[in-house]
């Protein structure tokens, strides 16, 4: 009998264009689109910062011979004149110049004068390369001067120079592989997307199957069919659950398809990670989302059956959006790592576990614990939903 209900509800859901868009089209189309957009946006922003021409103003170049020449020779820099030294900050603010270099008076120090060059620029932008590019140029000038002075002191070989300039060296060997490093940054974002899609996929069917029955006036006759109400709820729950799981799996499928097609073209360290996420990782990610879909379905169905209309169901489910989004976002915050405490926080634990899977550093005993606790919570939600569905004050709310 549950099967009869399931078949009928599924048929109705599949004939609803709005549900189909949320359940199938969005995850399949939007995920690859989003990924393409972010990767291309990030790389083009970096590219632009690296190649754009930097306008500069230079003060007292006579104090450091070679600096003005180096700037003029570099095609990436362009001099702007007529900016008064007193109005540097304002000129940077209104973008007349990107940076200003002010050379201090040299200090005599025996071997040769020490010169300080002051760099003024706006460092608020995360992708700004002003400091890096200027530093490179000034360092080159500095290195040339240094080499001249060392030669004058008859220190000609690289070893001699090194023993003077860096008698003690610290060599850093990072044991984290690149997958872990970048997974930490990108890995928080993907579970968030999966969780939202899983929720959105379940949302419309849940509203349609319960509040929709009330609004259309079909609930009362349905309740009078000679079948236990538990079976009725189970049939409906399974359809909503299927929708949530479908959305989640499709969004992972969207990720998988992107990874194995366009993702392969992404170069550099990001490309490395993309290649290291294997099919098993994707399957495990999907597995994590299944109890989550069950949780969402039971909760949404409970809210929906309480509501008297579509509209009411939508406004009642709005607070649940926050309850879903907030724990999913938590996993994106720096410093929040999967440990046994976080493993007990529903939704956040799944979000963190997906991040670990992408990083390739999952502790599998924790994975089992998270799956187990999520299944238990989903079970509690489902029991609540079935009990709730049998209350007259909910079904016939006046």
């Amino acid at each position: 009998m549950i099967w009869t209900i399931y078949r009928k509800e599924l048929r109705e859901v599949l004939r609803d264009r709005r549900t189909l868009i949320f359940m199938i089209v969005l995850p399949v189309v939007l995920i690859p689109l989003l990924l393409n957009l972010t990767t291309s946006l990030v790389s083009s922003a970096v590219e632009k910062a690296r190649t754009e021409t930097l306008s500069y103003a230079l003060y007292h170049p006579e104090r450091l011979p070679g600096l003005g020449e180096a700037l003029t020779a570099d095609a990436g820099f362009e001099e702007v004149t007529g900016v008064d030294e007193a109005e540097i900050a304002a000129a940077i603010e209104d973008e007349r110049i990107k940076l200003a270099l002010v050379v201090d008076a040299p200090v005599e120090a025996g071997v040769g004068p020490n010169v300080t060059v002051n760099l003024y620029y706006n460092g608020a932008s995360a992708t700004s390369k002003v400091k890096g590019r200027t530093e490179e140029l000034v360092t080159a000038v500095s290195d040339r001067l240094r080499d001249e002075r060392l030669t004058a002191l008859r220190l000609d070989t690289a070893e001699q120079r090194d023993s003077l300039l860096r008698p003690v060296k610290l060599e850093v060997h990072n044991t984290a592989d690149m997958r872990e490093v970048i997974g930490e940054q990108a890995g928080g974002f993907l579970p968030y997307i999966f969780i939202i899609f899983c929720y959105l996929g379940a949302l419309y069917p849940a509203i349609d199957l319960a509040a929709g029955e009330k609004e259309r006036g079909t609930l009362e006759t349905l309740l009078l069919a000679p079948i236990p109400r538990v079976k009725l709820v189970m049939g409906k729950f399974l359809v909503v659950f299927s929708a949530g799981v479908t959305s989640a799996i499709l969004s992972i499928g969207g990720l998988g398809a992107w990874l194995y097609s366009e993702g392969q073209e992404v170069g550099g360290a990001l490309g490395e990670i993309i290649k290291s996420v294997g099919p098993l990782d994707l399957v495990l990610i999907a597995l994590m989302l299944i109890p989550m879909a069950a949780m969402f379905s039971a909760l949404l169905l409970s809210i929906s059956i309480y509501a008297k209309s579509f509209k009411e169901a939508q406004s009642y489910s709005a607070p649940l959006n926050t309850v879903v989004i907030l724990p999913a976002v938590l996993a994106m915050l720096p410093g929040i790592e999967l440990d046994w405490t976080w493993a007990m926080v529903p939704i956040t634990n799944i979000s963190l576990a997906i991040k670990e899977l992408i990083k390739g550093t999952m502790d599998y005993s924790m994975l089992v614990a998270i799956l187990g606790s999520s299944v238990a919570i989903a079970g509690v939600c489902l029991v609540f939903c079935t009990k709730w569905f049998q209350r007259e004050s909910v079904l016939f709310r006046g």
Binding site: R15, E220, A225
Partner: protein, 266 residues
């Protein structure tokens, strides 16, 4: 045969509701509970049509819902051919067909799918349902739109689908809660013809309405509710006699009004 014995239903009231000065306190409110229907008893013979009358808010729908097993009575019970609504609700559901003026359809299913679904829910085998759908479609002249989606049907067509849905499991008892409310003349006519036909087939019919001409045309017995309590039960003739008017509207108002006056005096 339907026997209703001391049937009543109370609902819990929400905490402290502000009542305007003009609002008369409802005598059915007692502390935190509201006695929507209390101690209603009557019987209906098999093959009879019982009209259930009462002003809005009298408890008609609550009574109908208890009888159709949608909600459980707080006290008392009722039996359809000896089957108890409290003890064996599932068995009662197999015997009854329910239709109300606000009953809707699944818009994205076709008429055939909708009727078939309810047949299956009532435990009919697939072949039986198929034959039954054809039979009902022929009887209600639904052939032209049987495979169209309910959303695309006219009000009259929708009403026929609802009727077929109500009858798909061949119920012995039919419960109609204001079945003609909101329908146009033609659609209401279809429903009234259905009720008359049910009587010919020896089914028991219970229907609530505000239209006295429907009562005069169809009902053999009448039950009147006012403020949740039974205030009249008898034949249409007895209603005219006790109401002191040959016009049923007039008789109804007096029967309902009388009760209010006597209560005010007490």
């Amino acid at each position: 045969m339907l026997e209703v014995q001391g049937l009543g239903k109370s609902f819990a009231l929400p905490r402290k509701r502000k009542r305007s000065a003009a609002e008369r306190p409802d005598p059915r409110e007692q502390g935190r509970s509201f006695h929507a229907v209390s101690d209603v008893s009557f019987t209906v013979e098999a093959g009879a049509i019982l009209g259930l009358l009462g002003p809005n808010g009298a408890g008609k729908t609550t009574l109908m819902r208890m009888l159709s097993t949608a909600i459980k009575p707080t006290h008392g019970t009722a039996r359809f051919d000896g089957v108890d609504i409290v003890a064996a609700p599932q068995e009662v559901r197999r015997k009854i067909g329910f239709l109300s003026g606000t009953t809707g359809l699944y818009g994205r299913l076709t008429a055939r799918e909708m009727i078939t679904y309810y047949g299956e829910l009532h435990g009919l085998a697939r072949e039986v349902v198929g034959a039954r759908v054809e039979q009902l479609a022929a009887r209600l002249k639904m052939g032209s739109f049987l495979d169209r989606r309910n959303d695309a049907l006219s009000t009259g067509m929708k009403q026929k689908v609802s009727i077929a849905r109500t009858l798909v499991h061949d119920p012995q008892v039919l419960i109609f809660d204001e079945p003609t409310t909101g329908l146009d003349v033609a659609a209401a006519q279809t429903v009234l013809e259905l009720i008359a036909r049910c009587r010919e087939e020896g089914k028991t019919v219970l229907f609530s309405t505000h239209h006295m001409h429907e009562v005069a045309r169809l009902c053999s017995r009448v039950v009147i509710l006012a403020e949740g309590a039974l205030c009249f039960a008898g034949t249409v003739e007895e209603m005219r006699a006790q109401g002191g008017s040959a016009a049923l509207d007039e008789a109804f108002l007096r029967l309902v009004g009388e009760r209010e006056v006597s209560e005010g005096a007490a």
